[in-house]
Symmetry: C2
Subunit: 218 residues, 2 copies
DNA sequence: GTCTATAGTACGATAGAC
DNA sequence: GTCTATCGTACTATAGAC
């Protein structure tokens, strides 16, 4: 438990930054430790010293970003709920999505990394860590949505949340395409525009009438 | 241009089948030619004989599935349009989505493979082949949607189509989770249920009122 | 057309000097 | 804590016998 030297912290963060970008861009398997250490301008052996293996490096890369985003989501939702009334669907979605957009503004690769981990880089350990944390967040948000969408069965809420996650994930993964979306707009304006459009779109899908004749079964 | 022997065709298809499943499950980079030839029970050298390289094998794997799905999409859309009237949004979505669900029923890994190629296995050549073909399909469908959604600007239609592709892609990529969605339902019933729910959800999102005060600018 | 054998390369991880 | 050097392994691709 000795405090690491400043240089060590710097090396560690340089590795994390480089790995984050490369894992997001190319994926875990297509990224070698040599590519990471070259980009980070550190020695190859530093990775195995500071992190034990490539796999645990991936976990560290994710852990650094995941906790703040998920914490911010829950914080926003709790804050919105403090009035005691059922929330507008748009508010719930804002709490879920905005933290991801905001971290993407400073480091645009982070949302893409998270999308990869969501269902693609299927390395059991890392994916489980990621998915379990995200699953907890989703359960919390599903509770909020249930109150705002009393016309839907639990089954339908679950399905529509999955559809919504898909819209969000694809939008973040393809954010390069999206930045070109608003014709003539600068990038600074592009992301808020997409965020508003996305929330508006998802809210309409969630609010759609129930498809099933059979009522809520719980 | 000599017709290959039956054995050769068999070997080629065995390789394609094994590669398709492995690329879909583990991704391109995490799949070695040895894994493919072992699963296909063919010799290692057969891959480089029938296909030139691993990269062109991926293109062959995709090409085998892509053409029929995209053709079926366009065929359904043209058929629906034959009446001359603007289509219901649900019909347009059915033409876009149903062919993917149907191929997924016989080979459940195919939709997952397509999702990977959409934005994840970022090998330039293969991805470009895939995306160019899909882009042509999307342009055709965007034309149909434009007629059915006259309240939206071109910009908003483009954005909402991207959101919809995201819902579709995530639903297909996570189809394993989705099969467990309808509680108590067998798998044979699960996919039609998900298909109906998905189309209903996306249609509502597409039909949402325009967000922008500024009118259509074309 | 199918095989064995192997060339040539890149990888993850570690030992050991400093 | 940081480096060089390297071990052992796995990979793609191909040459050449059958």
């Amino acid at each position: 438990m000795v405090a690491p030297s400043e240089h060590s912290i710097d090396t560690k963060n340089r590795i994390l930054d480089a790995a984050e970008r490369l894992f997001a861009d190319k994926g875990f398997d297509a990224t070698s430790l040599r590519m990471i250490t070259t980009a980070a301008e550190v020695n190859l052996a530093a990775v195995n010293y500071h992190f034990q293996s490539k796999e645990t490096l991936l976990q560290a890369v994710y852990a650094r970003r995941s906790a703040p985003v998920n914490a911010k989501r829950l914080e926003l939702l709790t804050q919105f709920e403090s009035s005691g009334e059922p929330l507008e669907v748009e508010q719930i979605l804002d709490a879920l999505i905005r933290p991801l957009f905001e971290i993407g503004e400073s480091r645009e690769c982070v949302p893409r990394l998270m999308v990869r981990l969501l269902y693609l880089d299927a390395h059991e350990a890392s994916r489980n860590v990621f998915q379990q944390q995200f699953h907890q967040v989703l359960i919390r948000f599903q509770g909020a949505l249930r109150k705002s969408l009393p016309h839907l069965s639990e089954k339908e809420i679950t399905a529509r949340m999955q559809f919504s996650i898909g819209s969000l994930a694809h939008t973040m993964a393809a954010s390069r395409n999206l930045q070109a979306m608003p014709a003539g707009g600068q990038m600074k304006e592009a992301l808020p525009w997409v965020l508003r459009q996305l929330i508006h779109y998802i809210a309409a899908g969630l609010r759609a009438p129930a498809l099933e004749e059979s009522a809520c079964t719980f």
